[in-house]
């Protein structure tokens, strides 16, 4: 029974795969294989490091994609949940000597609990008001973190967070961390895919399309919005925990509005209502920011210009277009192969 269930997580029933992005296709194998082989083919630690950061950003983007991309709600405070995850791990491991794995799960639980408490009142708001409320929440989080010296270390933060380890195996190189982060991401993608192809995913989309119509078929709109918010926050909590373990530090500078906006950019650039797009956008933007870092004061204008050009070129997100392009190339290659066989 258990192996069958595990298999159904990875290879879903084709009859039930009603949503394109929730289907298991050869493309998924291609992506997974490419990600697995990438660090083995390119052994540069720098590549591994940037891809670790990209993976953490992708976890954040995936979580927000459920809330923003599928449920159609805006959050400008997503970085606060990332910070909550990072600080939970930092405090549990450095102060209480908790093992990183326990801190990892606790981080997601604390971020989810905070999202539940915050979400209950503010998710009654819509549109601009919700954006402002989440923005305010993000700023309050930063103030609390800066002021609660005894717990969070204030503006300096917490140092000396132990590296992630699992049953004595320490993730002490960027290569190992790469597999850790992307492994977690694959698990979260599977979870998200399953959500999307279930009644919860349909409720997300219904709420995004029309709250009134959704409520008249029995969907409790407030519950669905809150659920999407909490799941997104839990993902961010996982990301924050990994970030803290990998960087060995947690300080408020990393969890500000800039990060929230960056994650929103990843979701929008990746494509609304798309799971792989935000991940592709997270990889792209993380690399772009890393490369542009060399241009110092010109980096932000160049970054902004590239983003504007991309959004003009791909108004529905790079995820959708890239998928279409990839499907076209694969089908073209397949047709050519068949033709060659016929010619023979």
């Amino acid at each position: 029974m258990l192996p069958l269930w595990l298999l159904s997580l990875i290879v879903p029933d084709p009859h039930l795969d009603l949503r394109q992005e929730a289907r298991f296709r050869k493309r998924d194998l291609f992506y997974s294989g490419a990600l697995f082989l990438l660090p083995l083919v390119c052994s540069s630690p720098r590549l591994h490091y940037v891809m670790v950061l990209a993976g953490i950003n992708a976890i954040l983007a995936l979580g927000l994609s459920l809330f923003l991309g599928y449920t159609g709600q805006i959050s400008l405070g997503h970085a606060a949940f990332f910070g909550t995850g990072a600080y939970t791990t930092a405090i549990l491991t450095t102060r209480w000597g908790s093992p990183p794995l326990a801190a990892f799960w606790a981080s997601a639980a604390v971020a989810a609990a905070l999202a539940y408490l915050v979400g209950r009142p503010i998710l009654k708001l819509k549109g601009y008001f919700l954006a402002l409320a989440t923005l305010g929440f993000g700023e309050i989080f930063l103030v609390v973190v800066r002021e609660a010296h005894a717990l969070t270390g204030g503006v300096i933060g917490i140092f000396g967070i132990p590296l992630f380890s699992l049953a004595g195996f320490s993730f002490d190189t960027y290569l190992k961390q790469y597999y850790l982060v992307w492994g977690v991401l694959v698990g979260l993608v599977l979870f998200s895919k399953n959500l999307i192809r279930s009644k919860i995913g349909r409720a997300f989309l219904a709420v995004a399309a029309s709250e009134d119509a959704a409520s008249t078929v029995g969907i409790e709109v407030a519950h669905i919005k809150l659920g999407a918010f909490v799941v997104g926050a839990a993902f961010a909590g996982f990301g924050g925990s990994l970030f803290a373990c990998i960087m060995s530090t947690a300080n408020p500078e990393a969890f500000g509005l800039n990060l929230s906006v960056l994650v929103i950019m990843m979701v929008i650039l990746g494509g609304i209502g798309n799971l792989y797009g935000p991940i592709a956008a997270a990889i792209f933007l993380t690399w772009l920011l890393d490369i542009l870092g060399a241009y110092q004061e010109y980096s932000m204008p160049i970054y902004a210009l590239i983003l504007i050009l991309l959004l003009i070129t791909f108004p529905d997100g790079i995820g959708t277009r890239l998928n279409i392009r990839l499907i076209y190339l694969i089908s073209y290659w397949g047709r050519r192969k068949r033709r060659e066989r016929v010619d023979l």
């Binding site: 009603l18 949503r19 279930s198 029309s210 409520s215 029995g218």
Partner: protein
Amino acid sequence: MSFLSVEEIAKSYDGVLALSRVSLEVRRGTIKGLIGPNGAGKTTLFHLISGIERPSSGKIYFKGTDITYMEPHEISLLGVGRTFQTLQVWGNMTVVENVMAGMHTRLKGGFLSCGLWFPWVRRMEKEALEEAKGILEFLGLLGRWKWPASQLSFGEQRILELGRSLAMKPELILLDEPAAGLTVAEVRQLTERISQLREEGITVFIVEHHMGMVMEIADEIAVLDNGELIAAGRPDAVSRNPKVIEAYLKGARADA
């Protein structure tokens, strides 16, 4: 105890009266038509019954339960489904997903069980899919079950919206101008489907401008004009009522 009972319902928007102390009843297993010129307050009454808006005064009872101030999802849980005057098909889903979304309350499972795709979630989804296909077959849309809903024709989207409400297994269904924008053949088909609903024991409360259709299928008709109930009764009696004729002529003159 009547099935649906609207008692002295009034609704005003910033002092403008949309409904003025309207009282009416819908009997179980019947088709009740609600007609009236544009702006008479028909859709407002449907919004109040389905909980999307709150009345200024009055009470609404469904199967003896006071639903006046209930949330829309609570009312739908009691067995009230509806369609909208402005098409509310979810174009971001496939045709069959739209219908399956209507089964939301009947399907068990929360965020965790769905995300982990427990075996019973999978089993339930499979059953829901088969049931949704059955509804689409009844409505003549099975051939397009995997299409994005936005790619259906306007008429087909209206039918799909009805299918989504039927997926809730409602006891009462409120149809707000279901024939608007349909071709003659589609109206005929819809008329047959609605009559079949009555045979299956579903009570229908329908707002419609397509008079031929309402007169043909309705057991009783209520007429609203300027937010007031001006007539109610059997279709033939209502169609001869001077107040009704005057209201429609007035509407026609205003349109001209």
